[in-house]
């Protein structure tokens, strides 16, 4: 059963990538639809990363012993200042590892 599910998921991810590359599909989609889809990247990615940062053990953790929250705040600041993906990953990754070493895990 899991295998069938995985195959169906693979079909969807492939179709979303292939649909508009297929020679028979007309080039244009409506302006409105393409403007709407323009927001799908920021919307989906944010809806994935925000819960990772704010939740610990299924509960919102807004305290200073949530290393995800502190390191993510630093990532946002570095990203705004430098716009560099690699600096953002490197600096906040380093901070996160330090915090994990010095803040005892709450779980």
């Amino acid at each position: 059963m899991k295998i069938v599910t995985i195959l169906l998921i693979a079909m969807i991810t492939f179709l979303t990538r292939y649909l508009f590359l297929h020679p028979g599909i007309p080039l244009r989609i409506g302006d409105k639809l393409s403007q709407f889809l323009n927001f799908s990247g920021p919307a989906v990615l944010t809806a994935i990363w925000v819960p990772i940062v704010f939740f610990q053990n299924d509960q919102v953790n807004l305290t200073y012993n949530n290393p995800y929250l502190i390191a993510a705040s630093i990532a946002i600041i570095v990203s705004i200042k430098t716009k560099s993906v690699y600096l953002t990953l490197a600096i906040s990754g380093f901070v996160f590892i330090l915090l994990r070493v010095f803040i005892p895990a709450t779980s």
Binding site: K2, I3, T5, I6, L7, L8, I9, A10, I12, T13, F14, T16, R17, Y18, L19, F20, L21, P23, L27, I29, K32, S34, Q35, F36, L37, N38, F39, S40, G41, P42, A43, V44, L45, T46, A47, I48, W49, V50, P51, I52, V53, V60, P67, Y68, A71, A72, A75, I76, S79, I80, K83, V85, Y86, T88, L89, S92, G93, F96, R100, S107
Partner: protein, 245 residues
């Protein structure tokens, strides 16, 4: 210059361009592989995910959903929404690969990730046949790299049961932060991101099964509506100015 020389140059450039991205997905690949094993996937099923699905965000979210016995329609709908940004990639790349035969299009589509798209739209990208070679080489390199780190995750997950508490998921959060924040250069995108963030917390607190889908669709709608509103205002202003003159 001989053909061979040019080809080796394309391959070299592809190798260097994709290398940092290959490194950035290491924690992610390990997490995907080990998560699948810890959620009771067989080794074959865990291998099938990166080999066929080949999408980090989908793999992570869907592994949890499958493990929680979520209804199939919810799983597939969530997959569709997470992947919906790829419609745009295909659309944007279509013109660049106009004269490419069908079977090459299939391989490019299969290899088309956020990372490959970012590279192929680069201003200094190769033209014509070389573009095709570049895309297929970098895409395949990235694919096999993804596969290898997933396999390492599967092996590690089978022997070390506590891998998910290491904080590897922070790599995902920070990758997305690094990808999203620089795109916030207008009000509608800012609104989209804020709404997506608030909704994702709200729906997760309330344990909605379709939390990711609902948050994304609400945020996209808010972004789109504010975009239309701003556009209307600008149009009105320019029209008013025109009538004064």
């Amino acid at each position: 210059m001989t053909k061979k020389y040019i080809y080796s140059k394309v391959v070299k450039k592809g190798f260097i361009d994709i290398l940092p991205l290959n490194l950035a997905v290491i924690p992610w690949g390990i997490l995907c592989g080990s998560l699948a094993i810890q959620h009771g996937f067989s080794i074959f099923e865990a291998l099938l995910m990166p080999s066929l699905v080949f999408a980090g965000a989908v793999q992570l979210v869907v592994t949890e959903l499958i493990a929680n016995n979520t209804p199939l329609t919810t799983i597939l709908f969530t997959t569709l929404i997470i992947s919906s940004r790829h419609f745009l990639y295909g659309l944007a790349l279509k013109r660049r690969f106009n004269n490419v035969p069908g079977h090459y299009r299939v391989s490019i589509a299969f290899l088309l990730t956020d990372e490959l798209f970012a590279l192929s739209t680069h201003r200094k990208a190769f033209q014509g046949k070389l573009r095709l070679l570049y895309a297929i080489f970098t895409g395949s390199f990235f694919y096999f790299n993804w596969l290898i780190w997933n396999i390492i995750g599967i092996v590690a997950g089978s022997y070390l049961p506590d891998l998910t508490t290491l904080g590897l998921d922070f790599a995902i959060a920070v990758t997305f932060i690094a990808l999203v924040i620089p795109t916030i250069n207008n009000i509608p995108t800012f609104i989209t991101v804020m709404v997506a963030g608030v909704c994702s917390i709200y729906f997760k607190i309330n344990h909605w099964q379709l939390d990711l889908v609902i948050s994304s669709v609400i945020a996209m709608s808010c972004g789109y509506l504010s975009y239309r509103l701003i556009e209307k205002k600008i149009n009105k202003k320019t029209r008013d100015k025109g009538s004064v003159k």
